[in-house]
Subunit: 206 residues, 2 copies
Amino acid sequence: MTTKETILESALKLFSSKGFEGTSVREIAADAGVNVAMINYYFGSKEKLFESVVEYRALVLKGLFSDLVNNPSLSYIEKIDIIIDKTIERKLSNSKFHHIMHRELSLEHRPQLRDAISDILLKNMDPVKQIIKNGIKDGEFREVDIELTISTILGTIHYLLTSDIMCRKILGKKEGFNPFNNKPFIKRLSEHTKQLMRSHLLKNKK
Amino acid sequence: MTTKETILESALKLFSSKGFEGTSVREIAADAGVNVAMINYYFGSKEKLFESVVEYRALVLKGLFSDLVNNPSLSYIEKIDIIIDKTIERKLSNSKFHHIMHRELSLEHRPQLRDAISDILLKNMDPVKQIIKNGIKDGEFREVDIELTISTILGTIHYLLTSDIMCRKILGKKEGFNPFNNKPFIKRLSEHTKQLMRSHLLKNKK
DNA sequence: AGTTTAATTAAACATTTGTTTAGTTTTAAA
DNA sequence: TTTAAAACTAAACAAATGTTTAATTAAACT
């Protein structure tokens, strides 16, 4: 790993757990095992380092669902199932990055960064919207509020996978329980969300 | 308003918009129009000021739903409707405080504060749980995943009411749109969530 | 080889940080 | 009115902050 990448990884970790202002460049340098000056040498400033972390990680959140829209071999509800699983999966494997982005969203300084971040987070919005819209048009889905239905999917997953301590308390679990690598819980979350969407979306339910 | 309260109000405002580390005591003092030393005089330290803000505002988030559990004149789904509306209402009238609490939850330092905050946020968890449980027992509700159903309600509302910019983009609204004081949108959110819960919870739907 | 460019270092820089001090004004009680 | 406590102020404090400098080492090129 190059020096630049080492710094990016340490910055990702520390920004995620302590926030931007809560993390000093010296901490990042120490964690990465490099000289403090290297941060400004490679990135120019702490703020630009932060933006680089966002860019660096935004790449892995590329559009996932665009090819799903025109896939004729799946029913609409099956597409929703896939969207749910992929969303959970993606959030789990990028939990630190999601932490950073959602925290930044709730802060009011650095408005241009907020804008960039919301774009990244909603990169998959349009294909999902299209799938639900088509599902309604073809009579498989009820005439639901499309945007808010997507918010429910994202909100349910986000709410539980953002704060381990919150998740633990909601579920009534003990200290040792870690939602992020607990397979039964992930399965449970997936099943609940899918079932929820079946009841909500499908017209002819039995 | 006393000096102490003025400081608390300014701290609430600034912590909410810029975060704990992102806000300096001098900014707070300036905003409150008092001398910097007053903060340490009244609160001891910046950290204790933060805890005081949490205490100060936690009072207004008292248990809302405990009397709802044993109310016999309402059906279970009507109780859920009330819970949804009260949750939205409470979040709107304390949006700054919710900002602070959810941000703090996602940070990993100050663990004892995280614990206190999650307790505050979940103060109403038990009565809601009880209502759904009774609804299932009495045959009005299906056998849903109770904890995750609550997470869906909270998650949907939280996801949309946390970041104005995100909300705007999800809904495809212009710059000027502010979800926090847009009545039609609040109504829309309320209706969606209620409808969602009807489909999800009710056994004999038509 | 020598030379230029890049990478890295330790130290210093100027600000800003939270906090404290010592003194002053205001308030309230005796 | 005198006295004591509370409220408030301006200044100073030490520590930490992001950033830059100047010097040194390593790499790459001619």
